[in-house]
Every structure is written in structure tokens, then in C-alpha cells.
């Protein structure tokens, strides 16, 4: 038996119950679900981001390591080259210095020898002359004496050599 009053009041009552359940039970549950969904989503995206970052960082580090290694090698090569150059330079310098010293010594010796030779020749000349003078005191006059000195001078070169 259909009763209009029960029919209408039932609908209203159910709507009240619906509102109560929606307000006090459904919404907290729903919010919790939403929160959980958000949480999971942020966690996932965070993890993804971190993973990406880690990969990028690893690549960066690898690259950095590679460049530093290359740089170090370059530096070592450069240093070695420079050292070699320097060593060669030093050796060259030393060689030149030595040659110069040798040259200087040699020229000094030559000069001294010449000087000594000249001194000796002068001595020899005067000795010769004085010996000749002593020998020829009685037998030569002034003009002959001159002549003899000249002769001796001329032959001196042959004597030395």
C-alpha cells in the first residue's frame, strides 16, 4: 500500500542521512585518499627527479674527471717539454761558455808565447851582438858593426823558425 507521506518523508530523511554520512564519513575518507594519492605522487616524482639528478651528477663528475686527467697529462707533457728545452739551453750555454773560455785561454797563451818569444829574441839579439862585439872588438870598426847587427836581424827570423 503506497503512502504518500512515508514516500516523501523517506526521501527527505534519506537526504539528511546522506548529508550526515557525506559530511562526517565520506569527506574524511576521501580527503585521506586524496592526501595519500598526492603523497605517493610527490614521492614518485621526487624519486624520479632525484634519480635524474644523480645521473646528471655522475655524468658531470665523469666529465670533470676526464678533463682533469687530460689537463694533468697536458701539464706534465708541457713541463717535460719545457724541462727538455731548458736542459738543452743550459747545456748549449755551458758549451758556448766552455768554448769561449777555451778560446780565451788559447789566445792568452798565444799572446804570452809571442810576447815571450819577442822578449827572448830581443835578448838573443842583444846577446849575439854583445858576444860578437866582444869577439870582434879588435877587428871591426863602427861600420862593420852596423852591418853585422843588420845581418843578424835579417837571419833571426830563420833561426826562430
Amino acid at each position: 500500500m503506497f503512502e504518500l507521506g512515508t514516500f516523501i518523508v523517506s526521501i527527505i530523511s534519506f537526504l539528511i542521512v546522506y548529508w550526515l554520512i557525506r559530511r562526517w564519513a565520506f569527506h574524511p575518507l576521501h580527503n585521506m585518499f586524496e592526501k595519500r594519492r598526492m603523497y605517493v605522487e610527490t614521492q614518485l616524482s621526487d624519486a624520479e627527479k632525484e634519480r635524474e639528478q644523480a645521473i646528471k651528477m655522475a655524468a658531470d663528475q665523469k666529465e670533470m674527471l676526464e678533463t682533469s686527467r687530460k689537463q694533468a697529462k697536458e701539464m706534465i707533457d708541457h713541463a717535460r717539454l719545457r724541462a727538455e728545452e731548458q736542459a738543452k739551453e743550459i747545456v748549449d750555454q755551458a758549451k758556448a761558455e766552455a768554448e769561449r773560455l777555451v778560446e780565451q785561454g788559447r789566445s792568452l797563451i798565444e799572446k804570452e808565447r809571442e810576447e815571450a818569444l819577442r822578449a827572448v829574441m830581443a835578448e838573443v839579439t842583444t846577446l849575439t851582438v854583445s858576444i860578437s862585439e866582444k869577439l870582434l872588438r879588435e877587428h871591426a870598426n863602427e861600420s862593420l858593426h852596423e852591418q853585422l847587427v843588420k845581418e843578424a836581424d835579417a837571419h833571426l827570423g830563420e833561426l826562430v823558425c
Binding site: L4, G5, T6, F7, V17, W24, L29, H30
Partner: protein, 252 residues
Amino acid sequence: MIAFPYLFPDSIFKINIVTIAMIFVAGLIALIFLRLATRKLDMRHPKGWQNIMEWGMEFTRTMVGDIVPSERFIQFIMPLAFTVLIFLFVANWMGLVATISIHLNTPIPWLGITASDLQSANGDVALFDSPTANLSMALGLAVMVWLISHYQGLHRPKAYFKNYRNPLHILEEITNPLTHGMRLYGNIFAGEVLIASILSMPMLFHFIPTGLPLLVGWLLYGAFVSSLQAYIFAVLMVLYIGMKSYHMGGGH
């Protein structure tokens, strides 16, 4: 037939007091259980009642999603579907768990309990019963669903009226809410009537309850039917509203 107390018994606006009260009782029971679940909501470590209610939410969501796979519609219908499912589950079970009646010998005219009613009910007046075992209440729910579905449909008048070029669809608009409500009412009411008749079976030799095996079997079956009817009502509700929710991606 058991007698019911009425408000305004002699007018056209008769209100079954027990049915209305039972709606609120069922709602209150559902709310108490739900509050138990939502009292200590834990996002990461759900336990106890929260698990059960979360399962209920997931169940409702899959149920709705299988019928109308549109996120907007799911968001719209979820509170109603969840409430109807839980409310009807509790309401349908109430008549199985207990029906309470008192024995009255004197009629109470202002509550609509007349002498002839008492006579046909053997003086039994219901106090506690399934609200869904009442035809008007079940139809009320169905008509409410019907109204919501048309409200949804009128958001897209073109699609809505195009639907009625087939006259069978106009007939459906009458039969759908009618069968929707009657199915619920019939199942629950029949279950309770059968329980009452089994309980009134005479005892063999005045102490052997011949009806006991029957009662146990019927209670188990009634529990199954009660749960199933709650589910069917909710599914059909989602279907009827979803069919007309053109603007939310329904209507297939």
C-alpha cells in the same frame, strides 16, 4: 500482517513512523561504523576498520568506474554511491538481525492503530524493522534516483530529448524507477515475511523447534540477498544516473 504506527493516519499524508525512524537508525549505525573507521585516519598505516572502509571506497570506485569510466562522473557520484551502498547494506540487514514488536491489546487511534489492524496483526505492533521492507520508502529512494538522473540529463537538453525519439524509452522512464524500488522492497519484505512465518511454525511436541534448520538456512540466504540487493540498487542507481550524465562523459 504486522501493524505499524502512523503519523496523520487519516489524511492522505500518512507517515510510517517506524520506517522513518529506521532510516535514521540505519544511517546512525552506518555513521557510527564509519566514524570508527575515520576516527584515527592514518594515511600510511591503515588498520582495523579503516581497512574495511577503504576497501568499501575502492569497491564503490571500481563499481562506478566499470559502469561509467569518466573521472568527472566518478567524482560526482562517489559520495552518493558510497552512502547508498553502506546505508542499504545496514538497512537490509536490520530486519535479519532483529525485528522487534510489542503486543498491544488496546488500539491507539491517533497513531493509526485501529482495532481491526490489531486484530489482523494479532496485536503485534512493529518497533524495529528494515526501512527497506516498506514499499513507499523503497519507491522513494528509486524516485529520488530518477529525479537526479533527469536533473543530470537536462544539462544537455539536445542529447536528453533525442533519447526519446524512441517511444520505448518513455516507457522505460516509468518502469525503471518502479522496478528499481519494487525489487528492493520485494526482496527485503519477502525475506522478513518468511522469517516471521518460519518463527511461527508450531514446535514438535512443544519443545522441538522444527523450523530451526529452515530458519538458519533462510537467514544465511537472507544475508546474501540483503547484501546483493544493496549492491544491485547501487549499481542500477549509478547506471540510471550515468546514462543521462551526458555532460560528464556518460550516456552510452
